[in-house]
């Protein structure tokens, strides 16, 4: 058990707190960094705008590519081919059926 008188305790905690907080204070005190920090957002915004530009260019290229490919391979020719095959198959069976009869 601690037997220290209350006054001594108060002196001790006062001294301890003073030493602690004084040690935590930056030494030497830092200079104002406002102007050096002001330059950083400029760099960041440049990156941001470049990134946005790259994204917009990518989307544009994607659509151009899509349209070009759609022009080379039109969808209608594919669907017609499929339809023709089914007609062939159906007609073949019908022909065989007629021959047997």
């Amino acid at each position: 058990m601690n037997t220290m008188p209350t006054n001594e305790k108060a002196d001790n905690i006062d001294g301890l707190l003073s030493r602690y907080f004084q040690a935590e204070m930056p030494e030497p005190w830092p200079e104002c960094q406002v102007w050096s920090r002001l330059e950083k957002p400029g760099v960041r915004s440049w990156f941001r705008s470049t990134g946005r530009l790259a994204l917009a260019a990518s989307v544009l290229l994607f659509f151009l590519g899509y349209l070009t490919l759609a022009g080379i391979f039109p969808r209608t020719s594919t669907s017609t081919q499929t339809l023709d095959h089914s007609q062939d198959i159906g007609s073949k069976i019908n022909k065989e059926h007629k021959v047997r009869k």
Binding site: N2, L16, L17, R19, Y20, E24, M25, P30, C32
Partner: protein, 181 residues
């Protein structure tokens, strides 16, 4: 409250004076929130940067000191949210007690250990009590100065200071810390 003429009345030198007058108070409030000197320094610089930007935009800030202290408090709270995102459930000060592997002189080791325990106890106090203690012991402010900054009366400062000191003394004595340097 915008004023387009404001920009012309703000020389850089005046802003430096403002920084010299109030930066320690701003640091103290930020430090009281996190008990981390580097974080407090970062918050302090950010608060001044925002003040400068506000003035450049022509905002009419009548009481820069009060504005800075309010912004520092808000920034400290915002830091809590971002720190949570970065570190999960552990706030950065949790790691403050962890020591590096380099050999330290015995005296410094003892001091660091004492300060580490004190920091843990300070962390248990209410943020308002930590603000009072920081202003009292880091800046050597008296009760009236503290009352003015925190917008409370001097009696309340005395009471909170006394209570916080007593609590710290009891807990540190129980841990055998008070006899150390």
């Amino acid at each position: 409250m915008k004023s387009s003429q404001k920009k012309a009345h703000l020389p850089q030198g005046d802003f430096e004076d403002l920084y010299q007058r109030h930066s320690r108070e701003v640091w103290a409030l930020a430090y009281a929130r996190w008990l981390n000197a580097e974080v407090a320094q970062d918050i302090m610089q950010e608060a001044f940067l925002r003040l400068w930007k506000q003035w450049l935009e022509g905002s009419d800030i009548l009481n820069p000191r009060a504005w800075l202290l309010r912004v520092a408090r808000n920034l400290a709270e915002d830091y809590a949210k971002s720190a949570f995102r970065r570190n999960g459930t552990q706030a950065p000060q949790t790691m403050n007690g962890v020591k590096g592997r380099e050999d330290l002189p015995l005296e410094k080791m003892e001091r660091d250990e004492t300060f580490g325990q004190l920091r843990l106890e300070l962390d248990q106090l209410a943020p308002a009590d930590r603000e009072i203690l920081t202003l009292r012991y880091a800046l050597d402010y008296n009760a009236n100065d503290i009352a003015e900054i925190l917008n409370i009366n001097a009696t309340a400062v005395h009471m909170r200071l006394s209570r916080a000191r007593q609590r710290l003394a009891e807990r540190l004595t129980a841990q055998g810390v008070m006899q150390l340097p």
